[in-house]
Amino acid sequence: MALLLTLLLPSVSVPIIYMLGKKSDKIAALAVALVSIADLSLLLTTVSTVLTYGKHVESYYWIPMLGSEFTLFVDGVSLSMAIVTLILIVAAAIYSINYMEEKTALSGYYALLSLLTIGLVGVFITSNLLVFYFCWELMLVPTYFIIGGWGYKEPYRAAFKFFIFTHAGAVFVLLSIGAVYMLTGNLDMFQAQTLLMTASPDVVKWVLASFTLGFAVKMAIVPVHMWLPDAHSEAPAPMSALLSGVIIEAGAYAIFRVSLSTVFPSIAASAFATQFLHVLMVFGVLSAFYGAFTSLVENDIKRIVAYSSISHMGYVLFGLSLFPFSVNGVAYGSVEGVVGTVLHLVNHAVSKGLLFLVAGSIMRQTGVRDIRKMGGLAGKMPLTTISSALAVFSIAGVPPLACFISEFLIFVGGVQASGSDSFYFWSTFLMLVATVFSLAYVLRFFLKVFLQSLKIKEVKEASVFMTIAMIALAVLVLILGVWPRFFMDLINSVSFG
């Protein structure tokens, strides 16, 4: 029941939050946070089951015509993602109290946020492709309205771009789901995985490619990343945090869960498998460098962070290309690499979410978004500065902050994979070099925003709720870095490949 309730709770609360929002924005925000906390505790009840049995499954009677059951499912990976999603939603809701103060029609905003919760969490906790697709689209629609309704500059333009791109991606996903149903007569990921083994690899490889392309758009991999800088920078900061922290990572999760875990095993024996993973690897490296380079010269505070997300999705895609499989007794890929990749999704979600909140509070307090016009904010906004320091150095992979250990594991995986596929040796080396550029762009960001002489005189520290949200995430970044056990144990409980 826990998982079903996790989805039902936010659905029921949507109209209630809307009505509460008519009375007071603050109450609505707190209600969103509370619902998410309740959701979180519901999810946490499944942790012990997952750690012991590796998964927790709930199945309900659903559309019999499609032979489809409403299957809710968590294992270590999806549980980690769902937990971090809810943490970010809580932070975003609390942050919004002050951040959105001046905006109007907030009851709609909070109701949409609650609606979004269903989609965001649902994507991670189901093993039915139809439910998955439903939630996948449910992620999209509220996001469109939130960006459009409460964004910056020309919000609907950015929102439209976001919608069109990800929807185009979703078309590929839907096509592939149809193909899977056609091939197997089943929509459950795990049953489909077994049934696909008997299908013709020539067909399956197109399904795999189409799925991956669809997900890669959501993940904003170069060159289909064009929607991301606009959507991330024009969205209100809490939404940017969710976009970067959850939505693009849902793309990565979907590649892991659907492309690699469900479809990939059936073609692992063919030559296409290595080619496919190499393509992922090349685009991963490309995105990592592309994002880092553009971030290094960009001047818009939120776009810097947005490009950094592209760079980090590059790391993740590289990590996914280390997916372990074995052919004729030769083991390819690396389990450590995939563990690191999933852990990186968690760590990056928290760090980047935090960094977007920081960027938002700077924009709100200074009224400027060009970093050349900023400077010396460290003296005026000490708490924001500390949060930002933790976030940016985590992004750059400096220990003992969150992203270090996951990047480290990805690199370990890369070197491990190079044992059977020497191609990976050089790409891992390139990824290591990319971390230098990561450090370069975060140092530039930190320098231009917080250090040197003060250029804007009238600046105050961010308001109380914004600070609470930022400090909470900052502490989490530190804890995840020093003590990575919780999520790593969860992820380690899954057997990959």
Partner: protein
């Protein structure tokens, strides 16, 4: 019996690291409490560090506390500490120097802005560095290695309102990062092949010959690059001069015990793993020697008072690398010489920074050309600086004499004449630049600038803390037997060895180095300016630009990173990919508009056209057909009428007509009947 305080190998780094987090809280109460808190945390660290000494001294070579904490859940991902002579030596040095520097800071940093941040970072710096040396595995060491880098970035940029300080901090972090990724690569390569991070396990595996040479070689050279970057050796040394933007107390700690000593520690620690790799030790030695010479020449030229100890550190660490490279095996005299020199360098360079800090504090400038004759107004500082240069140059009986003597004899033992020549040249240059610094700053008449600012002696707290180091500079050399025993090095100590021919040669070399300085700066028989402009101008230019290292790096950075990034951003991203969706969308819209305008319009008109024509046809039809039909009707009607009248005429009522008609009809019927009847 054990002297070890419970858990001291853990607490010695946990205390300062954790205490650092509480500095802001203590500062909330008030500034005094914060200061006491910091000092007491540091003192406690010293106590725990010292408590490890007797065990190592009396014990065997290695005492390991076998308490490991599960940390990262991967095979071998435990956190553990290692107590052995090397780690204990370093931990004590760091804790002790850290304490001295913090006491000094009470005076030096008093009434400055951002003190809470300063003390927080200093404690973290100390804690992380002790953690680095205590860690028993590569992964934990690397974490601290990076934290040390992070702290030095933050401390170098401490005065963050000054652009130079910020840029220097970035340079520190980025340049050492280049080394860090190499070290990380080495760690990963070792881990993937050996499935462990632990030093001890790796040492065992290597000694059992279970590691393939290519892997070991790759790891060893990558590690070396990491050490080079951290210890500011050629060619990654340029960050250290920039790091002088830090408060002088930070520089003291950074040079004396933390950060730059990390590289030496790394090589000293991994020597036992990598010494069998061909060419590795030789590379270390050559890098060390070349850096020693180049660093010394740069120190000879710089007009910046903090530049002298900065380049001096580069050069002195070169000595340490040279000694490490000259050692043929772990725990050999060379290994010991290097660490011994590291200790004496910590003393004299630490003292040097503290003394120079006092000068800068008083004068408010770092330009030596404005100074002169300070010995009158700052006699104690003068005495301290004298100790510094005597110890640094290696004049007996100061500590530098012992450690450098040992290094020189180690290099002799390699039998490589070029190395020996270069290390002696570096020693001579050391004396030269030290003398030059002393003469320019303290000798002669007071300069105009010095007269203008009122110069006093430094506050008592600063003097007191630096005096401790001065005393150490004098007596450390005599503790060599103790240190040899402590480090468990198979080395016989006898004073006699220092009275040998080598020592004599060493002193002669120093004299040779000092002579030109004497001529130029004391006798003034040669003018420094003339020399610089005249015969030495090409060399001067090279030195002024620091051998063009920064020039090359900057232009490399600009041409290979910044410019391509700009291009990528401007042309590919903003002009290209960013617009591409809009272009596509625009194209689609145009297409749609076209379809709307033309196809739709056409179809639309087509309808009307068809309708119109239908209407026209209908109207035409209507018009003509109707008339025609009408006409037809009339015609029919007319005809009908006509025939009617005729028929009417037939209906005459005359019987015969009827009869005829009936008969006719009958006949027709009959004919029809006949015809239809089948015969």
């Amino acid at each position: 019996m054990t002297w070890l305080l419970p858990c001291s190998p853990w607490l010695v780094w946990i205390i300062p690291s954790l205490a650092s987090l509480f500095v802001p809280l203590a500062a909330k109460i008030n500034g005094k409490i914060r200061d006491y808190f910091v000092i007491s945390a540091s003192l406690l660290t010293v106590v725990f560090a010292v408590s490890m000494v007797p065990d190592v001294y009396f014990g065997t070579t290695q005492i390991v506390t076998d308490v490991t904490v599960p940390w990262v859940p991967v095979p071998g991902g435990q956190a553990g500490v290692l107590v052995d002579p090397l780690s204990t030596l370093f931990a004590n040095l760091i804790a002790f120097l850290g304490f001295i520097v913090l006491v000094y800071s009470l005076g030096y940093m008093a009434h400055k802005e951002g003190l809470t941040r300063y003390y927080f970072l200093m404690l973290l710096f100390i804690g992380a560095m002790i953690g680095l040396v205590m860690a028993d595995n590569f992964l934990l060491m690397f974490v601290f290695w990076e934290v040390v880098g992070l702290c030095s970035y933050a401390l170098v940029s401490f005065w963050y309102k000054r652009p130079e300080a910020c840029n220097a901090g970035i340079k520190v972090f980025l340049m050492t990062r280049v080394g860090d990724i190499c070290l990380l690569a080495a760690i990963i390569i070792l881990y993937v092949n050996l499935h462990t991070f632990s030093f001890r396990t790796i040492i065992n595996l290597v000694q059992e010959g279970k590691v393939a040479l290519p892997i070991l070689s790759l790891a060893s050279f990558l590690t070396l690059i990491g050490a080079i970057a951290k210890s500011a050796q050629l060619p990654l040394h340029t960050w250290l001069y920039g790091a002088m933007e830090a408060p002088t107390s930070v520089s003291c700690l950074l040079h004396g015990a933390t950060m730059v000593k990390g590289g030496v520690y790394l090589i000293a620690r991994t020597l036992i793993i990598f010494y069998t790799v061909p060419m590795w030790l030789t590379t270390v030695a050559w890098i060390g020697v070349i850096t020693a010479v180049i660093g010394a020449t740069l120190a000879l030229e710089t007009p910046d008072i903090k530049g002298v100890p900065a380049y001096s550190t580069i050069s002195q660490i070169g000595f340490m690398f040279a000694a490490l490279g000259a050692s043929s095996s772990p725990q050999s005299p060379g290994w010991f010489a290097s660490l011994f020199h590291l200790l004496s360098h910590a003393c004299f360079q630490g003292l040097g920074f503290l003394a120079i800090g006092s000068i800068v504090h008083q004068l408010g400038t770092r330009d030596m050309r404005k100074m002169g004759g300070l010995r009158r107004s700052m006699p104690i500082t003068f005495a301290l600086c004298l100790v510094v240069i005597l110890a640094r140059s290696g004049i007996p009986p100061f500590c530098g004499f012992f450690s450098k003597g040992l290094i020189a004899s180690t290099i002799w033992s390699t039998g490589d004449c070029v190395l020996v020549f270069l290390i002696y040249a570096a020693a001579a240059l050391t004396f030269a630049y030290s003398l030059r610094f002393l003469v320019i700053t303290f000798a002669g008449e007071e300069s105009d600038y010095v007269r203008k600012v009122h110069v006093h002696e430094a506050p008592a707290l600063m003097i007191a803390s630096s005096s401790v180091l001065a005393v150490l500079c004098v007596i450390l050399g005599f503790f060599e037997p103790f240190l040899i025993r402590f480090m468990h090095v198979p080395l016989e100590f006898n004073m006699g060895s220092f009275m040998s021919l080598e020592s004599l040669m060493f002193l002669v070399v120093l004299f040779i180095g000092g002579f030109p300085i004497y001529l130029v700066y004391i006798r003034k028989s040669l003018s420094a300016d003339k020399l610089r402009k005249g015969i030495l101008s090409p060399i001067g230019k090279v030195l002024e630009n620091g051998y063009y290292f920064d020039f090359v790096y900057d232009s490399f950075l600009v041409t290979s990173v910044i410019k391509p990034s700009r291009g990528l951003h401007q042309y590919v991203e903003v002009a290209g990919l960013e617009r591409l969706p809009y272009l596509i969308a625009g194209g689609a819209m145009h297409l749609a508009q076209g379809v709307y305008n033309y196809v739709d319009g056409f179809l639309d008109r087509m309808c009307y056209l068809v309708a119109d024509h239908t209407m026209i046809v209908a109207k035409g039809t209507h018009k003509h057909l109707e008339t025609f039909l009408d006409e037809l009707c009339y015609i029919f009607a007319g005809k009908a009428m006509f025939h009617g009248s005729r028929i009417k005429k037939m209906h005459t009522g005359a019987l015969p007509h009827f009869v005829v008609a009936a008969v006719l009809g009958f006949f027709i019927l009959c004919i029809l009947l006949l015809l239809t009847m089948s015969w």
